[in-house]
C-alpha cells in the first residue's frame, strides 16, 4: 500500500494551531517518574516546549526529525526487505548511551509512510527499545485529508497538543486501520486507542 499524495480541494485544516486534548499522550507523561532515568525517542522535530517538559526529569531525548532529514522519501522509495530496516536505522540518531528506549513519540509520521516503510522504521526502533516500551502515534482516521507534510506537535501548559504545522494544501490520508497498524508496527502492539475531536485516532502501542 502506498501513501496517496493526491491534492485535495478542501479548506485548510490548520489555519490556526489546534489544541488537541490527547489523553493517551497525557497518560504517557503522567507515568514518567522524575527520579528514574528514561530514554525518549522523538520522531518529529525538536521543540523547546518538549525539551522544557522533560527538563525536570532524568531524561535522554533522542530526536530523529525523520521528515525533515528526508526520511519519508527515502523509506517510501526503497525496496521492502531487510535493507529497508538498515536504511531506517540510519534515520535514527546516533546514541550517547546504550540505554534502551522507553518511550517513542511518533506524532503523525505513520500517515506519511507506506506500510512496509512504517514496519521497517518501527523494527529499527524496536531493536533499540526495552521490552514494555510504549509508542504514541496520531493516525488520520475519520478525516479523509491531511496536510502535505507531517505536523509539528507542541504540548501546551494545560496538557493539550497544538499542531504548529504550516497551513497549505492537503493530500489524501491513508487512514490506516488498527489491523494494518497491528501488522506493521514492527513488534509494537496496540495497547489503547482513542478517537480525538479532530478525527484523528490516538494510539498507544507497547513493545
Amino acid at each position: 500500500m502506498t501513501v496517496s499524495l493526491r491534492r485535495a480541494h478542501t479548506e485548510d485544516l490548520h489555519d490556526t494551531p489546534q489544541a488537541l486534548h490527547a489523553p493517551l499522550f497525557q497518560n504517557v507523561l503522567d507515568k514518567l517518574e522524575p527520579s528514574e532515568r528514561s530514554v525518549l525517542l522523538d520522531l518529529g522535530a525538536a521543540s523547546t516546549d518538549m525539551l522544557a517538559l522533560f527538563s525536570e526529569s532524568r531524561c535522554c531525548v533522542e530526536i530523529a526529525d525523520v521528515a525533515h532529514f528526508g526520511g519519508c522519501e527515502l523509506l517510501n522509495s526503497a525496496e521492502p526487505g531487510p535493507i529497508l530496516v538498515e536504511i531506517a536505522e540510519t534515520l535514527l540518531p546516533e546514541r550517547v548511551t546504550h540505554d534502551p528506549v522507553d518511550i517513542v513519540f511518533c506524532w503523525d509520521l505513520p500517515n506519511y509512510l507506506t506500510l512496509p516503510a512504517l514496519k521497517a522504521l518501527m523494527q529499527a526502533i524496536g531493536q533499540r527499545s526495552r521490552e514494555g516500551a510504549v509508542a504514541h502515534a496520531l493516525v488520520y482516521y475519520a478525516e479523509r485529508n491531511m496536510p502535505t507534510l507531517p505536523g509539528r506537535f507542541v504540548p501546551t501548559e494545560d496538557g493539550k497538543l497544538e499542531n504548529h504545522a504550516l497551513p497549505g494544501e492537503l493530500v489524501t490520508a491513508p487512514r490506516y486501520s488498527p489491523e494494518e497498524l497491528t501488522d506493521h508496527m514492527g513488534g509494537f502492539a496496540i495497547d489503547r486507542a482513542r478517537l480525538l475531536s479532530n478525527g484523528m485516532q490516538e494510539f498507544l502501542f507497547r513493545y
Partner: protein, 184 residues
C-alpha cells in the same frame, strides 16, 4: 589565520555577554577564560582541518572540521559557519550548521534555521522553532556531570582547601587581635 573583528558589534554575540577587554591581559591565562579586545572570528572564506584550541571567545563563519576546544570560552557558529567536529566549550550558540557532538559546561543554544546533527551534552539546552536538529540531548544531570564533570562554582571547588584557608585566615585574624602577652 583568524580575523580580528575590531568593530564594537556585539549584536550577534549577545548570548555570551560583553567582550570587554580583560584588565589583567595575559595573567592567569591557563586558569581564567580570556576575553580579547575583539571577538576572534574565522571568516567565511577560511577552511580549517584539524584541532582548534584557544582561550578566547570565537565566532566561526567558515568551514572547520576536526575538533574544536574552547573549554573556558564561548563559541558562536554563525549563519555561514559549517563545523564538522566535536566541540567542547563553555557555551555554544549555533546559527549555522554542525555535524558532531556538542559539549558545553554551561549552555547550548540552537537558533532558528540552524542545522545540527550530533549529540548535545550540556546542563542547559534550547532549540528554537525552525531549527533542525537530529541527535540526542542528555538532560539527566547525573549523566551530564559524568561526562563534563561537576560544575565548580567559586568557594565550592575545593571545600577542604577553602576550609583550611578560612581556618588559617581566622587564626591570623585572631592572632592580630590578641598580640602575645608582654608586647603591649
Amino acid at each position: 589565520m583568524f580575523e580580528r573583528n575590531k568593530k564594537e558589534d556585539h549584536s550577534e554575540s549577545q548570548d555570551f555577554g560583553s567582550s570587554e577587554p580583560e584588565k589583567t591581559f595575559g595573567a592567569n591565562r591557563k586558569s581564567k577564560p580570556r576575553k580579547s579586545d575583539g571577538l576572534a572570528t574565522i571568516g567565511r572564506s577560511i577552511q580549517i582541518s584539524g584541532d582548534l584550541r584557544g582561550d578566547e571567545d570565537l565566532r566561526i563563519e567558515g568551514d572547520v572540521s576536526g575538533t574544536v576546544e574552547l573549554r573556558n570560552n564561548a563559541l558562536t557558529i554563525g549563519k555561514e559557519g559549517m563545523v564538522h567536529a566535536d566541540v567542547y566549550a563553555r557555551s555554544i550558540a549555533v546559527d549555522g550548521e554542525t555535524r558532531g557532538d556538542l559539549y558545553a559546561t554551561e549552555r547550548v543554544s540552537v537558533h532558528v534555521n540552524a542545522r545540527v546533527q550530533g549529540n548535545i551534552i550540556s546542563p542547559r539546552v534550547s532549540i528554537e522553532e525552525g531549527a533542525h536538529f537530529k541527535g540526542s540531548i542528555e538532560m539527566d544531570q547525573a549523566a551530564v556531570e559524568k561526562v563534563l564533570g561537576k560544575p565548580a562554582p567559586e568557594n565550592k571547588a575545593k571545600p577542604e582547601a577553602a576550609k583550611a584557608a578560612a581556618q588559617k585566615s581566622a587564626k591570623e585574624s585572631s592572632s592580630n587581635l590578641n598580640p602575645p602577652a608582654g608586647t603591649a
